[in-house]
Amino acid sequence: GSYEFMSWKKKSGGFCFPHKGLKPIVSTESPALIFGTTTKLASDLPATDSFLGKNKVPDLQKIFQKADGLPVHLKRGVPDRLLYRTTMALTIGGTIYCLVALYMASQPRNQK
């Protein structure tokens, strides 16, 4: 199954992916396994574990995998919404301003 696939990957050490053979479901790395590898690697090196902060990736994975139906760009709630609305205001407002400016620029200028 997919667990055997993962341990094969770890044995080979470096960067290896099975490009040959179609095993779409099995070869799809399920989230738990990728992050299982991350956590394992961090604990493989206890001396460097606390070098520049601790690993918060598993916590973030929990947040972003919550089944709340939110799209990824709004998944974090309030800060995401604020940034999104600011971007939308600037782009849509800017586009209207741009169309007005281009309309005005396309008017013939009267000779002085």
Binding site: S27, V57, A67, H73, L83, T91
Partner: protein, 261 residues
């Protein structure tokens, strides 16, 4: 809950593509308003919204991959193709400017004094700062490779050190080039020599800044444990881009700086 029966990533609906297109509209029409009507409102709006779109779009890709696990080997293969195609398109972009340089320098017109460098142009000595810049970028290519090996070997401390060194070398290059630009005895307005020199090296410098920014983002992600020893494509893409920037500089140095002096 239904699961997908394929290894591709069907992304969530996202506003960034259309907002990015709008930002491009604002930036380009902003340039026109700035050139012809002395107004920089639109241009500023365009650049800010471009920055916001880039930040959020790439933030979302990190969320989709590192936090949601959507980047299967299949998805990663597509990303590799995409990055290679993008870098290839950039190579063609620079090819145009090299073409322009050779067009003008291989057969210098009478207006230039029939010679290259043109009469009156005192070119920069290729054995001074430009040679140092060459050494800096070559060294940074070595340090980024060291960083990559450290990542695949799971050595966190070395990876962070090597990547930081790479970024510092990139900043050193940029600082030296800025100083050269300031001190150069010729400007962009000095005949086709100035045009070809500053447009080609200028776009290269912009790409060094882009590459340094990409590497800096990778450094933050590296520190925050985003990369595993098997899966760190963001870093690889940044390293590919950085090597490309280095290669472009080598061509610039050999042709414009050295042969052209």
């Amino acid at each position: 809950m239904a699961h997908q029966a394929h290894s591709y990533h069907m992304v969530d609906p996202s506003p960034w593509p259309i907002f990015g297109a709008a930002a491009a509209l604002l930036t380009t029409s902003g340039l026109i308003m700035w050139f012809h009507y002395n107004s920089s409102v639109l241009l500023t709006l365009g650049l800010i919204s471009m920055l916001l779109v880039m930040l959020q779009w790439w933030r979302d890709i990190v969320r989709e991959s590192t936090f949601q696990g959507h980047h299967t080997p299949t998805v990663q293969k597509g990303l590799r193709y995409g990055m290679i195609l993008f870098i290839t398109s950039e190579a063609f972009f620079f090819l145009g400017f090299f073409w322009a340089f050779f067009h003008s320098s291989l057969a210098p017109t009478p207006e230039l004094g029939g010679q290259w460098p043109p009469t009156g142009i005192k070119p920069l000595n290729p054995m001074e700062v430009p040679l140092l810049n060459t050494a800096i970028l070559l060294a940074s290519g070595i340090t980024v490779t060291w960083a990559h090996h450290s990542i695949t070997e799971g050595n966190r401390k070395h990876a962070i050190h090597a990547l930081t060194l790479t970024i510092l070398l990139g900043f050193y290059f940029t600082a030296l080039q800025a100083m050269e630009y300031h001190e150069a005895p010729f400007s962009i307005a000095d005949s086709v020599y100035g045009s070809t020199f500053f447009v080609a090296t200028g776009f290269h410098g912009l790409h060094v800044i882009i590459g340094s920014s990409f590497l800096t983002v990778c450094l933050f992600r590296l520190i925050k444990f985003h990369f595993t020893s098997d899966h760190h494509f963001g870093f690889e893409a940044a390293a590919w881009y950085w090597h490309f920037v280095d290669v472009i500089w080598l061509f610039l140095y050999m042709t414009i700086y050295w042969w052209g002096s």
